[in-house]
């Protein structure tokens, strides 16, 4: 993509053109040439949006809830961006992105910008692409940005970590959800929503959740040295759970919009808490540090790929090692030493 094209997209976005925003996100998703310049140019215009991550198992009602959330925000005069991430096939790379069907309350309202994204199978890359897409929506001037994803694995957890507030959605009466929570999703939630609260067993699920959250709090705030240390390590790992905030459990019936207002109150409370305690800044710093590391890793890996090619390709190198003409360490040194020398010289 030419420099002029990047400039066009940037000025289009700052002008509020939906088409430019859509095209920018495509550029980001495809990693088209120039996407970096694009994100760099947009970065200066960000920082005003509140980002909310919504995760939960398939069928829990995420999309329906996000739809109702967006509607409430719109009623308050706020503009909304939604990024819905769906898995893609590991075999064909294809995907059916179905979250849009649920966005029935915001039909014809262009101030709700809804965008479906597929995971496209690359580990770590998804969170980078999502973070960049958030940058575009933020620069466009969206007041609230909701990122929605199926909470199944590390990839998705990384995605919701790009949010200021993480909402975990649970549906009543399924032991599976509790299992999922045990597996780590519990730690990342700031707000828990028991959706379909009109179903049998909803109150049990709420009680179970409260108890598990209580235990989680117990383990992070307990004065015993061992547990305290554990909590510190957790936070350094980029965990979004925080001892100063008691995770709330909210009941909703998303299809009818029941409880959505209460949820928004809790979300606002959490954001206020983040701002007042300075946690917002801290989280942002953690996020940027993680993002910089991720980019460095990716770029360094690309650089190394090029070097491997220059040394005759991986196949040739493996041939040498297999024939016992060289060993893996020697080969690695051969490729890396010139790079290290270069770095050394540039440093002086």
């Amino acid at each position: 993509m030419s420099e002029a094209r990047v400039d066009d997209l940037v000025s289009g976005i700052l002008d509020g053109q939906h088409r430019a925003l859509a095209r920018a996100i495509t550029t980001i998703e495809n990693r088209e040439s120039g996407y970096r310049d694009l994100v760099s140019a947009l970065h200066a215009h960000t920082g005003d949006a509140e980002v909310i991550g919504v995760t939960g198992s398939p069928g829990a009602g995420k999309s329906t809830l996000v739809d109702k959330l967006a509607k409430r925000y719109r009623d308050c005069g706020l503009t909304v961006g939604v990024i819905a991430v769906d898995p893609s096939s590991p075999y064909t790379g294809g995907a059916v992105l179905g979250d849009r069907i649920r966005m029935a309350s915001n039909v014809g309202d262009m101030d709700v910008f809804f965008r479906s994204m597929s995971a496209r199978g690359q580990l770590g890359g998804l969170s980078t692409a999502t973070a960049d897409a958030i940058t575009a929506l933020d620069a466009f001037g969206k007041d609230r940005i909701v990122v929605e994803t199926v909470g199944a694995g590390q990839n998705e957890v990384d995605v919701v970590r790009t949010a200021d507030t993480v909402v975990v959605l649970v549906q009543p009466g399924s032991g599976d959800d509790v299992q999922m929570l045990k597996a780590g999703i519990l730690e990342i939630g700031d707000v828990f929503v028991v959706n379909k609260a009109d179903m049998d067993g909803a109150s049990t699920t709420v009680a179970d959740l409260r108890e598990m959250l209580h235990m989680r709090d117990g383990s992070t705030t307990a004065a015993t040295g061992h547990h305290g240390l554990g909590a510190v390590a957790d936070e350094e790992g980029g965990g979004t759970a925080d001892a100063g905030w008691d995770p709330e459990v909210v009941e909703t019936v998303a299809t009818e919009g029941t409880g959505v207002e209460a949820l928004i109150d809790v979300l606002d409370d959490h954001y206020a808490y983040l701002r007042e305690t300075g946690e917002l800044d801290r989280r942002e710093r953690t996020r940027y540090a993680e993002e910089i590391r991720q980019l460095l890793r990716t770029d360094a890996a690309d650089l190394l790929e090029d070097e491997i090619e220059r040394h005759g390709g991986m196949d040739a190198l493996v041939d040498e090692v297999q024939a016992r003409d060289a060993d893996p360490y020697t080969v690695t040194d051969r490729i890396l030493t010139p790079l290290a020398d270069c770095v050394e010289r540039r440093r002086e």
Partner: protein
């Protein structure tokens, strides 16, 4: 400097417009597109033309496949195309129509901006090949 690998994927919106409750065909084509490695967004039933336009613009799709079996294609399809033009999205969106379209209506639809009309009996492969060859960017 290395810019990372480019990963271009064809994005499609499979859309049902108007009062037409039959979406078996749309489902079949959505699955076939997915299996061809495309990213498919399905609109759901009973969408108004402006909803389709909103979705096509925001999702920045390469292909818009409209499925119509109700007979209202002469009214609905031009409305969608007008909407795409309004947002400057028509030039690089490949608009396809599938379903029950009488032969005599085909040329009018094409004149309005539809790239191709696929009727009953079209093979999936034919449609997929057409998309691959004609995507506009």
């Amino acid at each position: 400097m290395s810019t990372g690998q480019e990963q271009r994927t064809i994005r499609c919106l499979v859309a049902k417009v108007g009062l037409d409750g039959h979406d078996r065909g749309a489902h079949v084509i959505a699955r076939a597109f997915r299996d061809a490695g495309f990213e498919v967004i399905y609109s759901g039933l009973h969408r108004a033309p402006e909803e389709i336009v909103q979705a096509a613009v925001q999702e920045d799709v390469d292909v818009l496949g409209i499925s119509i079996l109700s007979g209202a294609h002469n009214t609905l399809v031009p409305k969608v195309i007008e909407g795409l033009k309004e947002y400057g999205a028509f030039e690089d969106t490949l608009v396809l129509v599938g379903g029950i379209i009488p032969d005599e209506d085909r040329s009018d639809l094409k004149e309005a901006g539809v790239a191709e009309v696929f009727g009953p009996g079209t093979s999936m492969q034919e449609t997929i090949d057409f998309v691959r060859e004609n995507v506009r960017r």
